[in-house]
Subunit: 421 residues, 2 copies
């Protein structure tokens, strides 16, 4: 690597830190920005003056100082704050899940400006029809929001299942019967914007990191319990996606060799004990070989099962306990390999946590030697669908902050002196 | 983070790249160093002149040019090469394994200058006696090699089992009956040198990365099959050790809930099917609940079992197959979580690979959905005990290259201008 590249990297990083501080915490004075970012006053001044020149941020007056009850007594002039320019750019997040496509538009300050929801028939749609539906919906959404004028910076797509981010294809998803469905290429061709495909559970990890980088930093994991079981993984302060974006599929780590049938076709995956269909299969005492697609699940499955468990229904209590044990084993295997901390449990299935808790503890205890077990810290995060959208937007904005920098660099006078340290 | 820290980081990195290129590939001309490190000529010149001034490297004449058969015809003066100064520093690597302490001294050029092997009784030694033995051996070794004069830069310890690098303790090891045995503090107090404790399998990953950073870079894993089953893990081009150095314990990921008894006290760990005692237990048809310590293993266990398998002994062939299946499941679980590539198999047990191969394939196929399976790339590396020592030395040298830099910086005139990019 060259030093020039390294120094660009530092500039990008510092710019990005400033932009993210403004996006997370809103307008603030230079001095507060310095405190929040731990950059020197000189660096903050230099970076923010670049950003103002590029139109990405602007000075605004402090609203509080101008409020009526203070105005008569205000000493001196109002403090000057820095704020992101919301009009600097737009990002569209698209969330692809079973039967549903969500489209969300956010401005550069990270505020959601428009949203749209579209239904499709996950069970019966062909790959080609899905792509057509997706592209049509995205085009209509962009047109309706006048996004064809070049300030749309990215369409960031989060999809359920296994994705190949480098190829831009959905490899295998519960949302689609087809495999290897290309989405990035058709979308970027139709809209003319940069497109990016991610796994949806990874975006939950991004959302948590975005919301509180200190608490959700370092090496931590999110286990998503829902229609399926997914994982988002941060390693050393960075989202871990592996070579193709397909890594971190904890739902398809084997729990019991030759065990219950999984939706992926294998037997004994963690998901085959913990996904909604798996718990329903156990609660109804269906054979473990029952095909997942023959088990009638819906968004009501978890709440209904929780109601039945709360009413003391033995079979359901037993199913949740079994699911908890499987989850305890899964957490133990993950902890032995990576020891992420915290391990966050979320997803629609989290409402069943009280009925799984004893099972989780049992599984952990059986599966993990004490010296490793004591490092395990499990945390619950109540499920909010918008976590995925927030993470998708946060990731796209961060990418954009970096890209704008390259463009800005391209306009700089050439011949910048290369320092030889 | 401050920019100054970042710029120091770049300097350190570039210095370290230069030093490592010289250590890996031997003396070379500046121009070749530039090619090997991809640093600019100006940067190479600047860094190497610093290093010469600090006495870490020196100019040497090209030996080939001076060789008798060429000397009479030599054109012009011999090329001037740069070489590490072997006397600049020394590192001692200590390897702690069952019944054995190895001590190895290396010079700054990475060449091994002395080695010593000591026996102790792993089964019966107390924690206190072990520490006394270790410290005594280290002191005697340092004295015998005149290492008390301050140029001993680090004692780098690699131990079997679970270690806590931050606390400097061996948490749990097959080499010791005691738990939480402190080694770093007593050693550094007695010798007065910086000490560092690592897990031995991590050091195999370091050795492979050191030998060929392109092939063994990015995210890759080493599974060590021996007296136990360990793992060394690189994630995003860096050794992954987790918060305490205790991560990556794949041997104690559960394979079968409630399964065979493991040395760690849990049931069904991967090691309980793949460690030497586990295979011997299956080969002799002992119950899976047989205590590991009641199974008579030695360094002959793997070769003897391989001989028996080669002679067609059914029970042994069956045991190796079973072990292979367990390994296939283990690789599958690891691949689903991290998809490292390659996954390297090594350790004394690797001699049995031909008898495990079909089992590995069967396990992988049963445990991992095809889309994930196709990314799995397994590689065998023949077992050499010295891999651990080489990795330990390489890691210590790299750390040292960084530390020397801080010391050098401390001597620089203060008030270095902080750039505001």
């Amino acid at each position: 690597m060259t030093e020039k590249a390294d120094r660009d990297q530092i500039r990008r990083q510092n710019r990005s830190i400033v932009l993210q501080a403004l996006r997370r915490d809103g307008p603030q004075a230079r001095i507060d920005l310095g405190r929040a970012t731990q950059l020197s006053p000189a660096t903050v001044t230099s970076i923010t003056s670049d950003l103002i020149q590029e139109g990405l941020i602007a000075g605004v007056e402090d609203g509080v100082q101008k409020a009526p009850q203070k105005a008569p007594m205000a000493r001196g002039r109002p403090r000057s704050l820095l704020a992101l320019n919301p009009a600097a750019a737009s990002v569209v997040a698209i969330k692809i899940s079973v039967n549903t496509i969500d489209l969300v538009l956010a401005d550069y300050a990270g505020r959601i400006a428009a949203r749209e929801r579209l239904s499709f028939d996950s069970a019966n749609i062909s790959g080609g029809d899905f792509v057509e539906t997706l592209v049509g919906a995205a085009k209509a959404f962009c047109d309706a929001n006048s996004l064809s004028d070049g300030n749309l910076l990215e369409i960031s797509i989060a999809a359920q299942g296994v994705v190949d981010s480098s190829a831009g294809t959905i490899v295998w998803s519960p949302a689609l019967p087809a495999r290897n469905v290309p989405v990035v290429e058709p979308l970027s061709r139709a809209i003319g914007a940069h497109c990016m495909l991610s796994n949806d559970t990874n975006m939950i990890a991004e959302a948590l990191h975005w919301s509180d980088p200190r608490r959700y930093g370092g090496t931590f994991a999110v286990i998503f319990i829902d229609y399926g079981v997914g994982m988002g993984l941060y390693v050393d302060n960075k989202l871990f996606v592996g070579e193709t974006g397909a890594a971190a599929e904890i739902g398809h780590t084997n729990h019991i060799p030759g065990g219950a049938l999984c939706r992926c076709g294998r037997r004994g995956c963690l998901e085959a004990y913990l996904g909604d269909y798996a718990i329903l299969r156990m609660a109804r005492d269906l054979p473990p070989s029952t095909q997942p697609e023959d088990i009638p699940v819906s968004t009501r499955t978890f709440p209904d099962l929780v109601d039945a468990a709360a009413a003391g229904k033995e079979a359901v209590l037993g199913a949740f306990h079994e699911a908890g044990v499987a989850l305890g084993y899964g957490v133990a295997r993950l902890a032995a390999i990576l020891s992420p901390s915290p391990i966050i449990l979320t997803g629609a299935g989290i409402v069943a946590y009280p009925f799984m808790e004893a099972g989780i503890r049992k599984g952990l205890e059986e599966a993990l030697v004490e010296d490793l077990r004591k490092t395990v810290h499990i945390e619950r995060v109540d499920w909010e669908e918008d976590l995925i959208v927030h993470g998708t937007l946060a990731q796209a904005m961060r990418r954009f902050d970096f890209e704008m920098f390259s463009e800005a660099r391209a306009c700089e006078p050439s011949g910048v002196r290369e320092e030889t340290n």
